[in-house]
Amino acid sequence: MTNLATRNLKAASLWAFIVLIFVLVPVLSTSSYQVNLACHVLIWSLFAVSFNMLWGVTGMLSLGQALYYGLGAYSVGLMVDHLGRQWYLPAMGLGVLAAAALALLLGLLVIRVGGVYFTMLTLAFAQLGWQITFKWYDFTGGDDGIQGIIPPGILESGTVYYYFVLAVVMLSIWVLKRMAFSPFGLVLRCVQQNPDRVRFLGRRVRRNQLRVYVISSLFSALAGSLMAGVDGSIHTDMLFWTTSGEVILMSVLGGINQFFGPFVGATVIILIEDLVGARTEYWSLIIGIIIMVIVLVFPKGVVGEAMRAKSLLTRTGAGR
């Protein structure tokens, strides 16, 4: 029981610390730009963590989560554009529901194949979604994207919207974390490590893969719908494969075997992109080099290596 209490206390204090830092951002920041940046960090973190439920936890490398991210964003963008601002929040809910429905449908197709075929199929469907959004100019605005998406009521204020994003993201990540360490999450990790044995525990492998695919997609859409209000504009790039690639990068960088790895990875990448992007036009080259170095120095990701260092230290500390 002591173990359990310690575990809960440790987890709670970690949460409190992370939330406190983000709560203080608008207070301590010197410009609205910094708040906007923190918003990007939060939303990408949610996107990356939900993606990693698929990859790091269950071992399903999707190269198509941008489809759901974009679906969430365009649900909000289109409804606000066509029906008005009061539809902002309902549109978020509808986007999430639509993503869950689409994920269920596509999931039935894509989880029938494993490994690289799964990756390629998810990529193909996401690129299809991108093409439709890109070409269907009359409805989606094509490559003009959608501008002037302003959240309703008090959410119009950048600071209030920031706290709204903070609350939704933290709540979502908390829910995902509970799932990751529940019996369901344990089965997902087992599916990754030894699917045949999972079947011989009497569990259905594909059914569980489908469940996590829907859950991951639903939270990806939620992240996308939050993003629509941050800059007030959305663009077809949100559905492009490079967006899916970015969350993969964030997960690798932070460490795919740690729940908070993608969170840290997203934070690092967004901050690096911002810092380097402000100083040189060759920013993608610099970022590429920085990321390569980090991946080489921390093969298990930033959080993964930190945890390893910690366990090594505590072992020597025990000093038998």
Partner: protein, 250 residues
């Protein structure tokens, strides 16, 4: 008494190669028995057919009177057949405890709980500790499974099977790759598990001390066919078995 397991003229061929051919025998409830035979005799194939990993070309496999042929492994395990594999089939990155606990959760029908931490499932956790205790692995419960010694990984595999509360337990070479000391310990342990968990147990083994030490019935497979079946004494004296497998100086 109805047999626990009954094989009736079971066949399996890969292309032109008949791996099991016309195998028939009955395993009685509570029996501990061994299947022996040279490499390639079809022993593991037979297990794969029983557990639904391979389909039977012909014949029937009855478990407590019900035909299992055509059912997937998932349904067969649910009916009460457990199995440990020749190469330990475990979840390497999970802790030793979680390897067993996931099986306990599965048996208790709690794998679709999304909210509470696995450690808060007290019944599954207690059961898992009890199983680890009976295997002598409880001291290592918080280590990741891949860190365990080879022999302990094989025991863990058996533990996963036990957690599903099988009526019939199939062990595929439980002592393969172990040192002589470990073999002896494992032999005693398996006998003990058979008694304390009230199992019907069938094991494949090349270790003759184990076969003749703890099996009540020994069945000999050769080139896919059942060559002989009997008590250890009968098998030891069987001329055909001596020629085919045991050798003259056994």
């Amino acid at each position: 008494m109805t047999p626990m397991l009954q094989l009736d003229a079971v066949d399996k061929a890969f292309g032109g190669l008949r791996v099991t051919s016309n195998v028939s025998f009955s395993v009685m409830p509570g029996e501990i028995s061994a299947i022996i035979g040279p490499n390639g005799a079809g022993k593991t194939t037979l297990f794969n057919q029983i557990t639904g990993h391979l389909l039977c070309d012909r014949g029937a496999i009855l478990f407590q009177g019900e035909n299992l042929v055509g059912k997937p492994p998932r349904q067969i395990v649910a009916r009460g057949i457990g199995r440990a594999f020749q190469i330990a089939s475990i979840f390497p990155d999970e802790t030793v405890l979680d390897n067993i606990r996931v099986a306990c959760l599965s048996k208790l029908g709690e794998t679709r709980k999304y909210w509470r931490h696995v450690a808060d499932f007290k019944r599954a956790t207690d059961e898992a500790h009890a199983i680890l205790d009976s295997l002598g692995l409880d001291g290592q419960s918080e280590r990741p499974a891949f860190e365990l010694a080879h022999g302990d990984q094989k025991l863990l595999d058996i533990g996963i099977a036990l957690a599903l509360k099988p009526k019939l337990l199939l062990l595929d070479e439980p002592t393969a790759g172990m040192s002589p000391d470990e073999r002896q310990q494992t032999r005693e342990l398996i006998k003990q598990l058979w008694k304390s968990y009230d199992l019907t147990l069938v094991f494949i083994e090349h270790d003759m001390d184990m076969v003749f030490g703890i099996a009540q019935v020994v069945r000999v497979l050769q080139q896919g066919a059942l060559l002989a079946e009997g008590t250890p004494e009968e098998i030891r004296a069987n001329k055909q078995v001596i020629t085919a497998y045991l050798g003259e100086d056994f």
